[in-house]
């Protein structure tokens, strides 16, 4: 196991010093996925673009808990968070299986993390967008073979990492 908790966030808060926790800031440094499938077929488990995000998929799928802090956008994740999530597919295999009566990718790792998704700026979102955001978060969790998923909506940008203590 690499660490217990992975925190992926798009808020410019300084990372808290928490034991066994990796804070990953989803900024412009992360390059978008090119859809080349190199992470499955050329360097399995690792993205072929070496920009500091090449292992994020494998780290995510080997963590006990994954916290995602994202601005809500059109009923889904923000551009920055989505960019990181798109780069997470090296953590799963290209082969298919069935989960929840639908086709999904086979897991690469036996570990099953728990997802905690926190959407902020939720006061600007409609009820329809919030419902869709919840569905989106759960769909990602199922796709990544997670054992559970919680979704929280915050009105404002989190001022600190207190929510992690819950």
């Amino acid at each position: 196991m690499l660490q217990n908790t992975l925190v992926i966030h798009d808020i410019a808060l300084p990372p808290a010093h928490k034991e066994n926790t990796l804070f990953f800031f989803a900024g412009n440094k992360t390059v978008r996925c090119k859809g080349c499938f190199g992470c499955w077929l050329k360097t399995p488990g690792e993205c072929v673009m070496h920009d500091g995000s090449e292992h994020i998929g494998s780290i995510m799928l080997q963590s006990k808990e994954v916290w995602i802090f994202s601005k809500i956008l059109y009923g889904g994740f923000s551009v920055e968070i989505k960019r990181v999530l798109d780069r997470c597919i090296p953590g799963i295999l290209p082969f298919f299986t069935w989960r929840h009566h639908r086709m999904h990718h086979c897991p690469r790792y036996p570990n099953r993390p728990v997802f905690h998704v926190v959407f902020y700026h939720a006061d600007t979102a409609t009820e329809k967008e919030k419902l869709l955001a919840e569905k989106n978060a759960n769909a990602v969790a199922v796709n990544m073979n997670c054992s559970g998923c919680t979704v929280t909506f915050l009105r404002n940008v989190p001022a600190g990492w207190e929510v992690l203590k819950k």
Binding site: L41, L73, Y74, G76, V79, K82, L132
Partner: protein, 256 residues
Amino acid sequence: MKTVFITTSPKKKWSNSSYLLTITKWFTKGEKTWIAFQGPKDYEAILNALQYADNIVLATPVYVDAVPSHVLLLLEKIQQYAEEKHLHFKVYALCNCGFYEGIQCELALAVLQCWCERAGLHFCGGVGIGAGEMIGALRLSPIIGIFAVLIECFVGFFMLLKNNMFSVQALFDSLHISVAVISTMVFLLFSIGPWIGAAKMGKSVSHQSVHSMGYCTVSFCPAFLFVFFASIYWIVRSFFMHFLPPWKLFHKIKRL
């Protein structure tokens, strides 16, 4: 009536989104503009084209259950532009995902619907197509079949000449034309569902009518067969393109 077709796949060649959007374009009447969105350099071309557009058809792959990050950025740009210029064109969506079930595109289509509501655009429905990678790869099927027959023809021609037995009939008899016919039939049979889905969308765009959400996948191919073909495809592709033996595909990153 002017329609702008935007394909957003990051792949420059052999893109499944572009392939399916081409079919929609064939069945759309009126003035047509085609833009392949690759990144920020294409924003200007897209925004300029949207200025006089009546409809746009957006083709996007589905990444991790929703539209890819670069498409989200484009949507933000279009929203900003549409609000500034008070544009209210109609939006049609064509999503394709790698999973078998086309319905797995429903969240991506719902995101596009939410975007339209925010930007003051008219969302007129969309099509979610499953088995995207397979539909794209199926294009290789007739090419491989015809190529195999051509090689057989070439080899047969020289063999018959060498043995002093050449005649057109003898050459024809030595060929296995059925290989090309079967591979072409497989391509046509499996692709017909997505083609119909994309073509129907073109008809709706032509009439500027609301296209209800429709989902389709490879036709005449049950899910278990899809899984079998997909597994073979990944193994063959990694082996021939990257010289990677199949067991390496399961590699686990242990230490970073």
